[in-house]
Symmetry: C2
Subunit: 155 residues, 2 copies
């Protein structure tokens, strides 16, 4: 459903939302190694995101990528708009040409509410909210062993 690029983008933005600020920027190198994403690939993605004002960046020594207060008000949809080149929510899951609420495919009643719920979350919840929720739930952006709530899964 989501491309690798989009998943990488989302993870990176959420990482920046959790860790960065105007005064604490991260280079592509750090982000790549922290999230275990190929450096050159994530660099290109980060550049796209910066160009589209989803995140912020500065060149030169002490430069890097970060999320500003304004950036944090963005939502996931805006990330997807930059990376993905078509609406991931469009079209019947089975590819039936005229599947709709009136002529539902056999899994329409499963797929439609799922799409609705995701779209709601992706458009109404800010990056900041998302990042907070991740922290609270104890889920991981990084592969590296990070202790959360005293619960070190990597030992």
């Amino acid at each position: 459903m989501l491309s690798n690029a989009s998943k990488y983008a989302i993870r990176s933005v959420l990482f920046l939302a959790e860790n960065s600020s105007e005064h604490k920027k991260y280079g592509a190198k750090e982000i790549a190694s922290e999230l275990e994403i190929p450096l050159s690939f994530i660099a290109k993605i980060l550049q796209k995101l910066a160009k589209s004002d989803v995140i912020s960046s500065n060149k030169g020594p002490g430069g890097g990528f970060y999320t500003s207060k304004t950036n944090l008000q963005n939502n996931i949809c805006q990330i997807l708009n930059v990376i993905e080149n078509e609406d991931i929510f469009e079209g019947c899951f089975l590819g039936l040409p005229r599947c709709s609420d009136e002529n539902p495919c056999p899994i329409h009643h499963i797929v439609a509410p799922f799409k609705d719920a995701l779209l709601e979350k992706f458009s109404n919840q800010s990056i900041a909210d998302f990042a907070r929720e991740i922290k609270e739930n104890g889920s991981f952006l990084s592969l590296k062993g990070v202790s959360i709530k005293g619960n070190d899964l990597l030992k």
Copy 2:
């Protein structure tokens, strides 16, 4: 989520389930034009499905593809196993490395039940059941104008 190939495969098999039998076979040409799928592409897919006993086929005059009684007892998962080369239900939707019920990503509670419901349907419901349901619901496999329940959408 599903590749074009898988969607085409599912539509074709369901078409055969609805329309074919040992005594009424369909050539790749007919299926392609009926479902508006590129001929050479669907031919290759049908061959794969036939080779894997998801559908049946006969060469020569009067030959073609069809679903036998046994074929109709197959389920959607078996189609996906033939066409798709990795489990579409595996992995976190956002690509978070260690997302789980214990460390859920922010959309885990939306995605997990969706996957469960789909998997249940794809593995426990036969092709025959699926085809029947499509007919009853009035949804379309073909792009061609077919009147269903007196409700001709193409006029």
